[in-house]
């Protein structure tokens, strides 16, 4: 097609761009992995003999991990919370789409998707923790009149040894993402009308959707599910806030070990990280074959002719309840965070603070507590990473007209999302140090691009591909060159989608914790690193303020993506609408 548009070097150009984008994704991950594999076998890159540690290859770090009594428990926790939360979020996302699509509630869900996606993991975890702790907002609202509690009950709700609180947090955060990718996959024209057809055969809407649409959807959303599964098994900030501590899930333990001054412990951390990677791969394979088994079993059900009409009402009611729970939970959680940031003394059974205080916000306004400077750094890094990520994404999509549902190329795009951060980011830090790169804002920004770029591509590829190529042919027939077609036709028409994709990328950058912490040498303070550091500190007033700021910034990004096209194309109706994910 490039040749068809009469651009002589198009093929060579496209090849170069593709190669460059692949390098952006693959090189840091390869470097990071190498930076973890070496220490896992006792080799610390660049270590001088004077350091005292042995430079010879050794299996000692692996033995240390193997002999650590908490290994199986920590691994089991990672597996349980990862697979459990993914399974729940996946099932709920499909059931919500099946049962509610086309209804009024579904419109509400679509509108809430963007802010829920923008919610950084740490802020979501903090909001949930404030809500459900035994001394949290819910218990305060219900005490003592309903519960009889004068003191907070001694209940193990947060950091429970089964990881239930962690799973709840992960589900709340992953469900919107899976809904989004499902909606994007639903955009294929071939799927339209299938539910109607099923309904005409006497199926209900929900069961009809599962029997006719879902089998076509699943291959499309398989990679996003893998990304969710890998993330959920290896999340650090959510697990640190909501997860158990005796022991912590393996990812948290890896970060603890990697942060120790004792070289032997850091090598042990590197080995444990690779161990975790193995567990993630195992879980992915398990999921893959599990899905095939379910598919095999479901085929019989699919062709059995079972209408299952009795389930329709239950499913619809159940999903309405889930959506209601999610919306109410988010609103009350935000309310709790807000109230805490204005609270003075707030003793336990009181539903509202005894005294109110503007202290935290006054300090923030005066520049105390570092919130304003963290805000500036966060926005600077996110804007830079998003700009680079969006340019790369446009170049990539321009150079590769088609991204098929399961092509190996898509695997590449998903690589940074599936490869656990805790497995390669510490190694990347070591590599950067060994290459003489100082940690700082630029390095953090560059690292964020690795994660922003795939999300921008994924959000943009739907609208990009559904753009009608005949428009380009017509423009070319009228004498427009490729460059002019891009700048004055395709880009303006896709501006709304591009801005939405950029807002997704912006939110991804705002939420990054581990890459910011490690690549910034601890010096780059963003809202997220500060919020997680404060979460360990326990000052709820300041945590509330930070979590709110952390939520507001990406939401402003999405608001800009919604408003800007309307402003720019105020005189062109039909070009000011936004498409999320296509």
């Amino acid at each position: 097609m490039n040749h068809a548009l009469g651009w002589p070097h198009a093929a060579a150009w496209a090849k170069t761009v593709r190669l460059f984008c692949v390098m952006v994704l693959v090189v840091p991950i390869a470097l990071g992995l190498w930076g973890m594999i070496l220490p896992a076998f006792g080799v610390v890159p660049g270590l001088r003999a004077a350091g005292g540690a042995s430079v010879a290859l050794t299996l000692a770090p692996w033995r240390a991990v193997w002999q650590w009594p908490g290994l199986w428990e920590a691994l089991w926790l990672a597996f349980l919370s990862g697979v459990g939360s993914t399974l729940i979020a996946f099932a709920l996302s499909q059931a919500i789409v099946a049962a509610l699509q086309g209804g009024r509630v579904f419109g509400l869900v679509m509108r809430l998707l963007a802010p829920m996606l923008a919610l950084p993991h740490a802020a979501a975890a903090l909001g949930l923790a404030f809500l459900i702790a035994p001394s949290g907002f819910l218990a305060r609202l219900l005490s003592p009149w309903a519960t009889g509690w004068q003191d907070p009950p001694d209940l193990l709700v947060l950091q429970d040894p089964w990881g239930l609180a962690l799973m709840a947090g992960l589900v709340a955060k992953e469900l919107p993402f899976l809904l989004l990718v499902t909606l994007a996959a639903l955009g294929q024209p071939a799927l339209r009308g299938r539910v109607l057809l099923a309904q005409s055969l006497g199926y209900g809407r929900t069961v009809g959707w599962f029997k006719t649409v879902f089998p076509a959807i699943y291959p499309q959303i398989r990679l996003p599910i893998y990304a969710v599964l890998a993330y959920a098994m290896t999340s650090v900030e959510m697990a640190a806030i909501l997860g158990p501590t005796r022991p912590a899930p393996l990812a948290v333990q890896v970060v603890i070990w990697m942060g120790q001054p004792d070289l032997a412990l850091r090598m042990q951390g590197a080995a444990a990280a690779l161990f975790l990677l193995g567990a993630v791969l195992g879980a992915l394979i398990l999921w893959h074959f599990g899905a095939r088994m379910v598919a095999h079993w479901a085929r019989a059900w699919n062709f059995s002719g079972v209408r299952g009409l009795w389930a329709e009402g239950w499913l619809r009611g159940g999903m309405l309840a889930v959506v209601a729970l999610g919306v109410v939970g988010m609103v009350v959680g935000l309310l709790g965070l807000t109230i805490w940031s204005f609270a003075g003394i707030w003793r336990f059974p009181d539903a509202l603070p005894q005294t109110w205080s503007l202290g935290v916000w006054r300090d923030v306004w005066r520049g105390g507590g570092g919130l304003l400077s963290a805000l500036g750094t966060t926005i600077l890094i996110a804007l830079g990473a998003t700009l680079v990520g969006a340019i790369l994404a446009l170049a990539w999509l321009g150079a590769r007209p088609k991204v098929a549902g399961t092509s190996p190329v898509l695997w590449l795009i998903y690589l940074p999302l599936i490869m656990p951060q805790v497995v390669f980011v510490p190694g990347l830090q070591t590599a950067a140090l060994a290459l003489g790169m100082q940690g700082g804002v630029v390095l953090v920004m560059a690292t964020h691009v690795i994660f922003v770029f795939p999300y921008v591509v994924l959000s943009l590829c739907g609208p990009w591909q559904s753009w009608d190529p005949r428009l380009a042919l017509q423009a070319a027939a009228l004498g427009a060159g490729r460059v002019r077609i891009f700048w004055s036709l395709r880009l303006p028409m896709l501006l709304a989608a591009l801005l939405t994709a950029a807002a997704v990328g912006f939110a991804v950058s705002v939420g990054q914790y581990l890459p910011t912490l490690l690549m910034g040498a601890g010096r780059v303070e963003t809202l997220t690193t500060e919020a997680v550091a404060l979460a360990a500190g326990g000052n709820r007033r300041l945590i509330g303020a930070y979590a709110l700021a952390q939520i507001i910034v990406p939401v402003i990004g999405f608001a800009a993506a919604v408003i800007l096209p309307g402003v720019i194309f105020a005189n062109r109706r039909g070009m000011s609408r936004v498409a999320i994910g296509g």
Partner: protein
């Protein structure tokens, strides 16, 4: 598109220049103080300090403003989740061969981290005794300023605050708190779920274990020497016996623990626990002044005394801004700065200075301080017990994690 890329690269480079650290000039000579001041002017000192307490962060910010006004030295706090992060950073830099221009200029440090850095030769100095304000330091009355967890400081770190373990209780809910290890156990049995400690290896949590250990070990003098592996198991057996009895009666039945000192404090503020402790005798008053604790909270110490130690600052051997770091270390010993740190509305830290060495004006600053409603007068703080050798802390934290830190 390429011009755009060029612009991005240009911007990136411009930012990078601002962040990059110039290669260090010559090593400063602490005894030649005017030269140190000259060299320090214009430097930005990256002070790696635990960042979990906004009051301390605010104090460091104030200190930075003072340093800039007086000496033209800026202070940038690098907020750590754990001091070992800074040690790790210096270690990684040495591993990568970066022997100058390092990222860490000053570390808030003591105990095991200091011992580790000292024995690995990662520190600049000796410098402490050459600081002009060293003459005010109470070396005789507060021997902990020169002996950090039994390890001689040898001038490689400079003290800036004294700390002592104090317990806190809400007098409205618990009028007569237990004042010894045995009384605590008895009280916890009668009131299950109302006491806990930060999960070791957290600093404060491990300090609580040491406080118990000193009480149950019989001859506490062995703690002043490094752990003797041959004797260790028998020596600490009473500690594990005590904890085996106590743990089932802890908050959440000992199945979860708060992460650190502020998390423990929040539990007291929420009323989840009735009894708490801190490594800062002024903390309760400060939190009351802040509206974070009700004004019925009081502090108390155990019969026989509680553990006390000093906080220090140290300078890594490869720090990029050693002269600036020296200026900040000296400024921390300034009587005006020490009086501000001692103010319960600011930090409520105990001073490292000798009141008799101060001139009347400086002394009056301390005399004027209202220590706050919940703070014990110095005379009521009781004996300050010596910190055990760092190897004890390391070993019992590790063993605690194996015994209680991994769910069975």
């Amino acid at each position: 598109m390429f011009t755009k890329l060029g612009q991005i690269i240009a911007v990136a480079l411009a930012i990078n220049v601002g962040v990059q650290i110039p290669v260090a000039a010559q090593t400063p000579e602490p005894t030649n103080w005017p030269a140190v001041l000259d060299q320090a002017r214009g430097q930005t000192v990256y002070w790696h300090a635990w960042g979990g307490d906004p009051r301390i962060n605010d104090f460091i910010e104030w200190l930075g403003e003072t340093a800039e006004a007086r000496h033209g030295v800026r202070v940038q706090q690098v907020k750590l989740a754990s001091t070992s992060d800074a040690v790790t950073r210096v270690l990684s830099e040495r591993a990568a061969g970066q022997d100058s221009g390092g990222a860490v200029d000053l570390i808030w440090i003591n105990g095991g981290n200091f011992a580790a850095m000292k024995s690995a030769d990662l520190l600049f100095g000796p410098f402490a005794e050459a600081l002009p304000n060293w003459r005010y330091v109470d070396v005789v009355g507060k021997p902990a300023v020169a002996n950090d967890f039994t390890v001689p400081t040898d001038g490689l770190e400079s003290p800036w605050a004294m700390a002592q373990l104090v317990f806190e209780h809400d007098s409205a809910r618990l009028p007569n708190p237990p004042r010894s290890a045995a009384a605590l156990l008895e009280w916890a049995r009668a009131n299950p779920g109302r006491f806990t400690f930060p999960q070791p290896p957290d600093y404060l949590g491990t300090t609580f274990l040491k406080q118990i250990l000193i009480g149950v070990i019989g001859d506490a003098r062995v703690l002043q020497a490094p752990v003797d592996p041959a004797q260790y198991t028998a020596q600490v057996a009473p500690l594990w016996r005590y904890l085996d009895d106590l743990t089932p009666h802890l908050w959440r039945s000992g199945r979860a623990f708060p992460a650190n000192e502020p998390a423990l404090a929040q539990l007291l503020a929420d009323g989840e626990i009735a009894l708490s402790f801190a490594f800062n005798p002024g903390r309760a008053s400060a939190a009351i002044a802040d509206g974070q604790l009700p004004d019925t909270v009081r502090s108390f110490v155990w019969q026989g005394g509680t553990i006390g130690n000093a906080s220090f600052v140290a300078i890594p051997y490869n720090a990029a801004h050693q002269a600036g770091a020296l200026v900040v270390a000296n400024l921390l010993l300034d009587p005006e700065v020490q009086a501000r740190a001692a103010d319960p509305n600011v930090l409520g830290f105990q001073t490292v200075l000798n009141m008799d060495a101060l001139d009347p004006v400086a002394r009056a600053r301390f005399d004027r301080l209202d220590l706050g409603i919940a703070t014990l007068a110095p005379a009521d703080l009781g004996p300050s017990l010596l910190e055990p050798h760092p190897s004890w802390m390391e070993q019992i934290a590790k063993d605690w994690s194996l015994r209680y830190g991994i769910a069975q």
